[in-house]
Symmetry: C2
Subunit: 252 residues, 2 copies
């Protein structure tokens, strides 16, 4: 255990602080654990968060999405829920590290039992960057923290969408990032649970390649109206970040 002077944050030996390269934010991450990626950055950018909104991030991991949303939006309060104690502890220290504890709260909890910590219809926005892989696909050790972040071990897609529908206010916004392979599942489950899908954006690594991610946003009890946004390319033909990505990172 060593102490970082700036803010007096405890850092474990297998952790390091990374500069998010975005609005002066930093993030403690496990050196060998599940790491935040572009997906969380893109989801934070994609999600419409109005002024004074109450936001919930389900499966918050290191707290990356609440931290980004607190910097990018005028939300009143952002709650990140994480089932794994060891991961939630990192998220809590990330909130302190970035001096966001007046706005961001991290709770270690199984969101399936939300009724012991939240009221129904409480949130204006629910975000999630959930595990991408269904259970049973190449899991070595289901107790492994990395496995829980990657696979639908503790919360499957249907439960996530179901819980989100319960916790959102009327016309509240549900926003998710996932793999294109789950598009049909996501859209059909959202419609089934009355989180009417509204916006879809595909993320392409570069021109001509298959999409690598989808961003989907829906509205609780919204009317059917579906729009596919402009594609988002990550790299241009020269292998550099596109202007779109630079804008998202606040560089343009």
């Amino acid at each position: 255990l060593r102490i970082i002077k700036d803010g007096g944050i405890d850092l474990l030996q297998d952790e390091q602080i990374e500069d998010l390269d975005l609005k002066g934010l930093h993030l403690i991450q496990k050196k060998n654990g599940f790491r935040f990626g572009l997906d969380s950055v893109l989801l934070s950018h994609f999600t419409n968060v109005k002024k004074n909104a109450e936001v919930l991030d389900i499966g918050t991991g290191s707290g990356i999405i609440p931290i980004l949303l607190s910097a990018k939006t005028h939300a009143k309060r952002i709650v990140g829920v994480e089932i794994q104690q060891i991961v939630a502890d990192v998220a809590k220290r990330n909130v302190i590290l970035n001096k966001l504890d007046s706005k961001v709260e991290i709770i270690c909890h199984d969101i399936k039992n939300y009724d012991s910590i939240f009221k129904k219809n409480q949130f204006d926005v629910v975000t999630s960057n959930p595990p991408y892989m269904p259970i049973g696909k190449g899991i070595a050790n289901p107790n492994d923290t990395k496995a829980i972040s990657r696979h639908e071990i503790t919360l499957d897609l249907e439960s996530l969408i179901d819980v989100s529908a319960s916790l959102l206010k009327q016309y509240g916004i549900f926003s998710i990032v996932h793999k294109p392979e789950r598009l049909a599942d996501i859209v059909c489950l959202m419609r089934m649970k009355k989180l009417e899908p509204k916006f879809l954006r595909f993320v392409y690594p570069r021109y001509g390649k298959k999409p690598s991610l989808i961003l989907v946003q829906g509205v609780k009890n919204g009317n059917p109206y579906f729009k596919v946004n402009e594609p988002l390319y990550v790299f241009d033909i020269n292998g550099q970040y596109t202007d779109d990505i630079n804008v998202i990172y606040g560089k343009r």
Copy 2:
């Protein structure tokens, strides 16, 4: 009325013959009617048609899809059904014009009443390039043949998918082209009617623009497995057809 010497095809005054610029095919089209477009060409290319397959095209219009599929595949028999007599007559002459009457049959019929002309579970493949616009959006005259080709006046999306599910064999293929705005409807209805969505391809007019069309293919009683294919760009940055489009037109 005038006669074209090649094949002895009757041509009305408001009609003209167009060179499809593809495998020597030609098409009679109304000068001021609903005209076939790139969407039908792309759907014909996108659809997996196995050797000796029996294919049904619903809302066949001028017969463009059966004619293209007869040239591009080894289907045994291709039936195009069209509800409008005046349009079906054009399709029938197009079959004769292209000397495809041994393989392609055009039937003027309301496909909702399919049981008087087809058996259930009869077809290996069902294709459709249906009207894109829901009823009630800017229809001047619902008796207008062009309006029927453009709006869901005689067959809405749910009925189309329902009828297709009934007419397809086990593991038969359903293939549709539509606007991106209907993606959620199409995917959810297909899943509901047990035409499990499998492949999705977006068509972009050019790099960085919103998609203009979607191509969706599903399998009757198939297992959930969803794949988003490479995007298809129509024009390159110089405003020329892309290689992909040239390949589809048989030019590469």
